[in-house]
């Protein structure tokens, strides 16, 4: 089930929240666990046992580490088993065919592709990362062992963030799992975030993204340079609003349930360096890699050579996390290269030149989205030549006629305009808030009823 569907909005959401609010405080987690399991199974009932086994293994690992805290080797062994088990499923489902494909290409063998792994278990990349934060943190003694399996299961399958993030660490919400206050203020704040997220996804991402999909499905034949830039900009806006919209909906629902999930996007397109971009884009993923890969490898506190090796590793992993294909690896390594340049000399220059730094980020990101969006790498080169060598044509007129206004709206909302307005004109904003949100909600429902294009982009993650 995806949030941006009528079934979710007008069946699951009212039923789940009603059940949750009516449940006495002691049993709220159990209710949450049950509705979340229904939510997950609806989309992918077959892979339910996999999730269940990962939950059990990590739960037991936590107990084990707590029990034999004194024996370092034993604890290390338990941690290793749980990590290998969790990552193993992810690796098997996500990367085995990719591996076979590369082995076949490299050695001329012809291993058949595995049929089982054709579909990735829903949300596996997200919940594997979430669950690992628990066991690793328990191992390092940062948090207490969770003995209540219902509370632990609730943390893992919590439906708002289960399938598309944000990646919530156990330590983010462990206190709220035990004791949280649900206030009317929090519910109302959650509704605001949810509606904004829904609008981002349904009104902006879907409507703008249709242009990219249209251009991509025609195989870029006859596309003009201007048309290519317009289409690529549409993709940049789509991926931002799609992803941040999902996160906002998740955070909003979390708030209404009494949780505080971490922020996931903070106006990434206003960044002045690509390093800064990654502190504003999918912040919980960046945070995860920093905390659980970069720092354990030594982070910045090692020799220069090792620092860059560490950077290389986390960008390689970040790329691969987004999809099992070389274009995603290339996309990750592109950020490794750019971030290295920024560290070496570019950063100082960017800090001093405001306009240039924004241009640099925007163009730098557009280039990264080409690598990200086009999975068929034989077409990547020709798309770059469309972008940077002049190709005539007036197709852009048609694109702008259809998508110009909505893209402009997208650009405006990708800047912190709403925040600015709220600071400058608080009275007016208070008046306009409800009509605005009401309109967004009504239009979102209308677009869902007559939906011609409503993709779920994270099936690959």
């Amino acid at each position: 089930m995806v949030f941006s569907s009528l079934l979710f909005l007008f069946r699951f959401l009212p039923a789940a929240f009603l059940a949750y609010y009516l449940t006495p405080k002691k049993c709220k987690n159990l209710t949450l666990l049950l509705v979340s399991l229904i939510f997950y199974s609806w989309g992918e009932v077959r892979y339910f046992p996999i999730m269940l086994s990962i939950i059990l293994v990590n739960y037991l690992a936590g107990l084990g580490i707590g029990r034999w805290r004194g024996s370092r080797n034993l604890c290390r062994g338990i941690l290793a088993v749980s990590v290998v088990f969790s990552v193993g499923f992810l690796a098997f489902f996500k990367y085995s065919n990719f591996l076979l494909l590369n082995i076949n290409a490299l050695f001329g063998t012809s291993f058949p592709m595995l049929e089982v792994t054709k579909n990735l278990p829903l949300g596996i990349s997200f919940y594997t990362f979430q669950i690992m934060t628990y066991t690793i943190d328990v191992y390092f003694g940062k948090i207490e062992v969770e003995r209540n399996i219902i509370d632990f299961g609730t943390f893992v399958v919590l439906f708002p963030q289960l399938i598309a993030g944000p990646i919530v660490k156990y330590s983010d919400i462990n206190r709220e799992l035990k004791d949280r206050r649900i206030t009317l203020d929090a519910i109302q704040d959650g509704i605001v975030l949810f509606i904004l997220g829904l609008g981002s996804k349904v009104l902006l991402a879907n409507n703008i993204g249709a242009l990219w999909t249209e251009v991509e499905s025609s195989g870029f034949a006859g596309l003009s340079s201007l048309g290519a830039w317009v289409a690529l900009t549409a993709y940049a806006l789509q991926i931002y609003f799609d992803f941040s919209g999902y996160s906002l909906m998740a955070i909003g629902m979390g708030r209404a349930l009494g949780f505080h999930f971490p922020q996931n996007f903070n106006y990434p397109y206003i960044s002045r360096s690509l390093t800064e971009f990654w502190r504003r884009w999918h912040m919980t993923l960046g945070g995860w890699f920093r905390e659980y890969l970069y720092f354990p490898l030594g982070g910045n506190r090692v020799s220069r050579w090792k620092q860059y090796r560490n950077l290389f590793l986390i960008w390689f992993a970040t790329g691969l996390w987004h999809g099992a294909a070389w274009n995603f690896v290339l996309w990750g390594l592109y950020f490794f290269v750019m971030q290295s340049f920024e560290r070496l000399f570019l950063r100082r220059f960017l800090d001093q030149h405001r306009v240039f730094s924004h241009l640099y980020v925007l163009i730098g990101l557009q280039i990264s989205w080409v690598l990200f969006a086009i999975t068929d790498m034989s077409k990547t080169g020709s798309f770059f030549s469309l972008l940077f060598l002049p190709h005539g044509g007036n197709d852009w007129m048609y694109y702008l006629r259809n998508y110009g206004i909505i893209m402009l709206v997208g650009v405006v909302f990708s800047l912190p305009v709403l925040n600015l307005l709220r600071d400058r004109l608080p009275r007016l904003c208070k008046w306009l808030e409800i009509p605005f949100l009401g309109l967004v909600l009504l239009l979102s429902v209308a677009y869902l009823v007559d939906s011609t294009y409503n993709p779920f982009l994270y099936f690959r993650f």
């Binding site: 694109y399 009504l442 009823v449």
Partner: protein
């Protein structure tokens, strides 16, 4: 009261969510959407095996979407919003000037075209010595009314494709591009000087992908002239003509543009001796029951059937003691076209290969034809897999 003031959004949102949910659960299911001209999904039967194959839940979601309370109203809201955003297309339909709707058609299936050429040629090789075979491709409205297309939209160049197809065709080729262009020019000239009570003349509908009866007549005229015959004059058919206003065609059903201008269908209810549709005798040439619903075009010649036979005494060139016959292979464009042929042939046989059950070879054995016409719209020509049946 204090709470209402403090939590207006919370209250409104909750009311909206629950009221809509309850209303949606209570609303009656509809079988068919007149507005969209499509059958709506019904509640799927539950089975564990379907659930485990991940086949049940997508069906259930489609059901919820199709049966959502106030569906038509929501669709109109979206259409208004799309226009507010300046969009000139929805669901693959493009809004041209002068209220014309067109299809966005940017790629075509070249393999299918090649294969269909092969099937038509096989038919011509088999029967061409016995009976003259003519083949003609009907251009889509955008290919004729290009001036009305928005700037920067580059649809498939149907004329260029037809120029490529032409030398490969073994049958006689009837080029309808100049014919339909002239029809559009003549229609525009007529409209410029028409009286206040006269109906507007168009070669193609604004809200539908078909040609109008006038467009079909012009193609009929071109065909019979190419066979050395004299066409009936359209004016002489005026006694049989009536109009069906408020026709919202297939393009409208797809884009549901709230400001679309409805078309008028000119129905020529020509006198006939008998009409047999798929082996069943019909009392009239057209299915008048269909005039009451949205998809009026499907009433012409009772829609698409296996084999339709029209017998009449209309033939202007009738020879005593001889029964002349024509065989028409067609898509739905042929339904407004075929009746005119009664003025040059005693019997008109019409075959729609898409619903064809009778083998074509059987028909060719049993009935002696004087002419065969294969008449396909470009889009059917380049997409229909049923063309293969012409060789069965």
């Amino acid at each position: 009261m204090q709470k209402i003031k403090r939590y207006p959004l919370l209250i409104l949102f909750t009311l909206f969510l629950f009221a809509t949910t309850v209303a949606d659960m209570c609303a009656n299911n509809r079988e068919f959407s007149e507005m969209e001209n499509k059958y709506l999904a019904q509640k799927p039967a539950f089975s564990w095996s379907q659930l485990f194959k991940n086949q049940y839940t997508p069906k259930y979601e489609t059901y919820i979407n199709d049966q959502f309370v106030g569906r038509d109203w929501w669709i109109t809201v979206k259409s208004v919003s799309e226009s507010a955003f300046g969009k000139i297309k929805n669901n693959g339909i493009v809004y041209g000037s002068d209220h014309y709707l067109f299809e966005e058609y940017q790629t075509t299936d070249e393999d299918r075209i090649e294969r269909n050429i092969g099937f038509f040629n096989e038919f011509t090789e088999t029967y061409g010595k016995r009976v003259p075979v003519t083949l003609s491709v009907i251009p889509s409205s955008y290919a004729i009314l290009g001036d009305h297309l928005p700037a920067g939209l580059h649809n498939v160049d149907q004329r260029a494709y037809c120029e490529q197809i032409r030398p490969q065709i073994e049958a006689e080729w009837l080029d309808l591009f100049p014919v339909m262009e002239q029809a559009a020019v003549d229609a525009a000239a007529f409209n410029a000087s028409r009286g206040p009570n006269e109906e507007e003349l168009l070669a193609y509908y604004r809200t539908d992908h078909h040609w109008t009866s006038y467009g079909a007549y012009r193609a009929y005229k071109a065909f019979v002239e190419s066979r050395g015959k004299t066409p009936v004059e359209l004016e002489t058919l005026a006694p049989y003509l009536y109009y069906l206003p408020d026709f919202y065609g297939s393009y409208f059903s797809k884009c549901k543009l709230y400001s679309a201008l409805p078309d008028t269908i000119a129905v020529y209810d020509l006198p006939v001796d008998s009409v047999t549709v798929g082996g069943e005798r019909k009392p009239t040439l057209h299915n008048a029951a269909q005039w009451e619903v949205r998809d009026k075009h499907a009433g012409l010649l009772w829609g698409n059937a296996d084999v339709t036979v029209i017998k009449s005494g209309n033939n202007l060139e009738h020879e005593e003691g001889k029964t002349s016959r024509v065989l028409l292979f067609k898509d739905s464009f042929g339904n407004s076209f075929a009746p005119f042929l009664t003025y040059n042939y005693d019997e008109v046989y019409i075959v729609d290969l898409r619903s064809n059950l009778t083998p074509v070879s059987e028909l060719m054995e049993q009935v002696a034809f004087d002419d065969v016409l294969i008449l396909y719209n470009f889009m059917t020509f380049s997409s229909s897999a049923d063309v293969a049946r012409i060789t069965y």
